[in-house]
């Protein structure tokens, strides 16, 4: 259903247009005011901008629409488990999300092709930062898409699902950052609380990954929370049958 839904293609086109524009803006600012930070690192540091609209657009229809049209009932009469339904909805949205990010690799390639002298320094296609950032996007995507699937399982309205997903993503991404800022301004927190706040710093995770530091703790955070949310989605579908 994801591939025949217009909202999927709207999300894809908006994503590529916006990210293309942002990449161009980053290159332009780098040319005008040279910086130590690589364009690819700057580019992936604004990952949250597309996440806020692409994830809700990709996931809001997944279960809410099936429920409102009644096709969830027909799906449930086939020998397919509810867990399999949730996992396949997640897999569809997640693969498309990663595919969209994969398409952004074309931006440095196009730049390199058109401006070969700019690529000579190796700043455009820095393998370490690109690999690390992609790894971050892949594991954080598990959590973000799971949030969207859970929001979609709660309601039969796509609009409500989209708003719920956007708000939760905002709290998870920006809230963690704000908690970190509060902790810094309010002095030292209790040891374990400080550790928890640091654990939820999504931007810190990206910084580490883009510098080539692969820590297992973010893996655990994103994958376990994602799995928990998908499990709750399965229970919600079961309860709302």
């Amino acid at each position: 259903m994801l591939l025949i839904s217009p909202s999927t293609y709207v999300a894809g086109v908006l994503f590529l247009c916006l990210m293309g524009f942002l990449y161009w803006a980053i290159l332009r600012s780098t040319v005008n005011a040279p910086s130590d930070i690589l364009p690819s690192v700057q580019f992936f540091s604004i990952f949250w901008i597309p996440v806020f609209f692409v994830v809700p657009l990709l996931t809001m229809r997944s279960i809410a629409d099936e429920r409102s049209t009644g096709t969830l009932d027909t799906l449930m009469t086939t020998p397919v488990s509810r867990g399999a339904v949730v996992l396949s909805k997640f897999a569809g949205a997640y693969i498309f999300y990663i595919f969209l990010w994969g398409l952004t690799l074309a931006f440095p390639l196009i730049t390199q092709r058109n401006y070969p002298h700019a690529a000579e320094s190796g700043a455009l296609l820095d393998t370490a930062s690109i690999t690390g950032s992609f790894l971050f996007l892949a594991i954080s995507g598990v959590l973000f898409v799971s949030i969207g699937i859970l929001a979609s399982s709660f309601t039969r309205s796509q609009l409500v699902a989209g708003m719920l997903c956007f708000t939760t993503l905002f709290v998870v991404i920006v809230g963690g950052q704000q908690l970190g800022s509060l902790a810094e301004s309010g002095g030292q927190l209790v040891g374990w609380l400080n550790a928890v706040v640091n654990y939820l710093q999504i931007f810190e995770h990206l910084d580490d990954f883009s510098r080539g530091i692969i820590d297992t703790r973010p893996f655990f955070y994103y994958l376990s929370t994602g799995a928990l949310l998908l499990g709750i989605s399965t229970l919600v579908i079961e309860a709302k049958a």
């Binding site: 096709t71 449930m76 009469t77 020998p79």
Partner: protein, 349 residues
């Protein structure tokens, strides 16, 4: 070894909060039967069907499909059932053939048999030539229903359950669906629900009347007539003193009552008689009424009570019984037939 019945339901109950949607429902459907579920809106038909299809669990009681318990092994039951829900939800953006192939894959039809299975289902439902490549969103209501039935037929299930398959269709389309159900008779067990009474009467071998979550009657149309509206019925047209008809019959020793009276042109009256006396046929009535000098008998015809009348009698009786049991009215409100409250109880056999 004797084969188990296609469907067996015992003491099935389902509650939604304080509302008892289904209460102690018991019935059995044998292989190859076409059984109609009849009941007003909100009676609990769809709930029973959803429980049988494994979409929704029962609060208590048990249901078996093809000898397999729905609660214990819902996956196996789903392999034995083809279900078409009410309003037949379909994805509007897909083509008919694409959708049916997708559904066949979900129903675990082996990959090499998908084309053949889908083609067979489309041919049974007359979709193969006309609507094969059409986008579902552009189909008429009749064709959409056919797609829903074709979907239910995929994977050769033992039991087909169709919730209101003829709702919203025009008479031609209803006839088409009826023919389709006739074609399935004897090959598969078919359970269909409707509140369109002639539809059930024509299509089904047996009828189960459900009201307020309880089965209030079950049997063939004839069995239901005998139980709820016994006696022979005759439709007569008389000219003259129609009020003397009842008296004339009683004086001749025929136990008859006028249950309906309608004015006809030229000052005549059409009367519906219910004759309780055994052995009284049309000839006896003709003999008695033909000799009367108070009125002239213009026509006489035997009349069978319609399923509609049986249904009203059965549901009114159940309404009375439920009121007796629960005087404080802890009952679902949707099911209550308005006429049942206002009109007096029907004549009980």
């Amino acid at each position: 070894m004797e084969k188990p019945p296609s469907i067996r339901v015992t003491n099935l109950c389902r509650q939604f909060g304080r509302v008892h949607a289904v209460q102690s429902v018991n019935f059995t459907v044998h292989q190859g039967e076409v059984v109609g579920f009849l009941g007003p809106n909100g009676a609990g038909k769809s709930t029973v069907m959803r429980i049988l299809s494994g979409i929704m669990p029962a609060t208590s009681g048990s249901a078996w499909v093809g000898g397999v318990s729905v609660a214990r092994d819902p996956h196996m039951v789903k392999r034995k059932i083809g279900y078409m829900p009410e309003n037949n939800p379909l994805p509007d953006d897909m083509r008919v053939v694409e959708y049916l192939r997708f559904r066949a894959r979900l129903k675990e039809v082996p990959g090499r048999k998908i084309r053949e299975t889908v083609q067979e289902a489309m041919e049974i439902c007359d979709l193969a030539r006309t609507a094969r490549r059409k986008i579902i969103g552009t189909l008429s209501k009749g064709f959409r229903q056919r797609v829903g039935i074709a979907d239910a037929l995929l994977g050769k299930p033992e039991v087909i359950i169709m919730d209101e398959p003829t709702i919203g269709l025009d008479p031609h389309q209803i006839q088409g669906i009826r023919k389709l159900i006739d074609n399935l008779r004897g090959k598969l067990t078919v359970v269909l629900s409707s509140h369109i009474l002639p539809e059930i009467e024509r299509s089904c071998d047996r009828v189960i009347v459900i009201n307020r979550g309880r089965i209030v009657a079950a049997g063939t149309s004839q069995e239901l007539r005998d139980e709820f509206l016994p006696g022979n019925r005759f439709l007569i047209e008389v000219a003259g003193a129609a009020e003397m008809v009842g008296l004339t019959l009683n004086q001749s020793g025929i136990d008859a009552a006028i249950i309906d009276e309608v004015a006809a042109p030229n000052g005549r009256k059409k009367l519906t008689l219910r004759v309780e006396s055994e052995g009284t046929d049309g000839a006896s009535l003709l003999r008695v009424l033909g000799q009367s000098k108070d009125f002239s008998l213009m026509s006489l015809a035997h009349s069978e009570p319609t399923l509609e009348e049986i249904f009203l009698a059965a549901t009114k009786r159940s309404w009375e019984e439920t009121i007796d049991e629960k005087p404080d009215g802890d009952l679902p409100e949707l099911d209550e037939p308005e006429e049942a409250v206002e009109s007096p109880p029907p004549t009980r056999p």
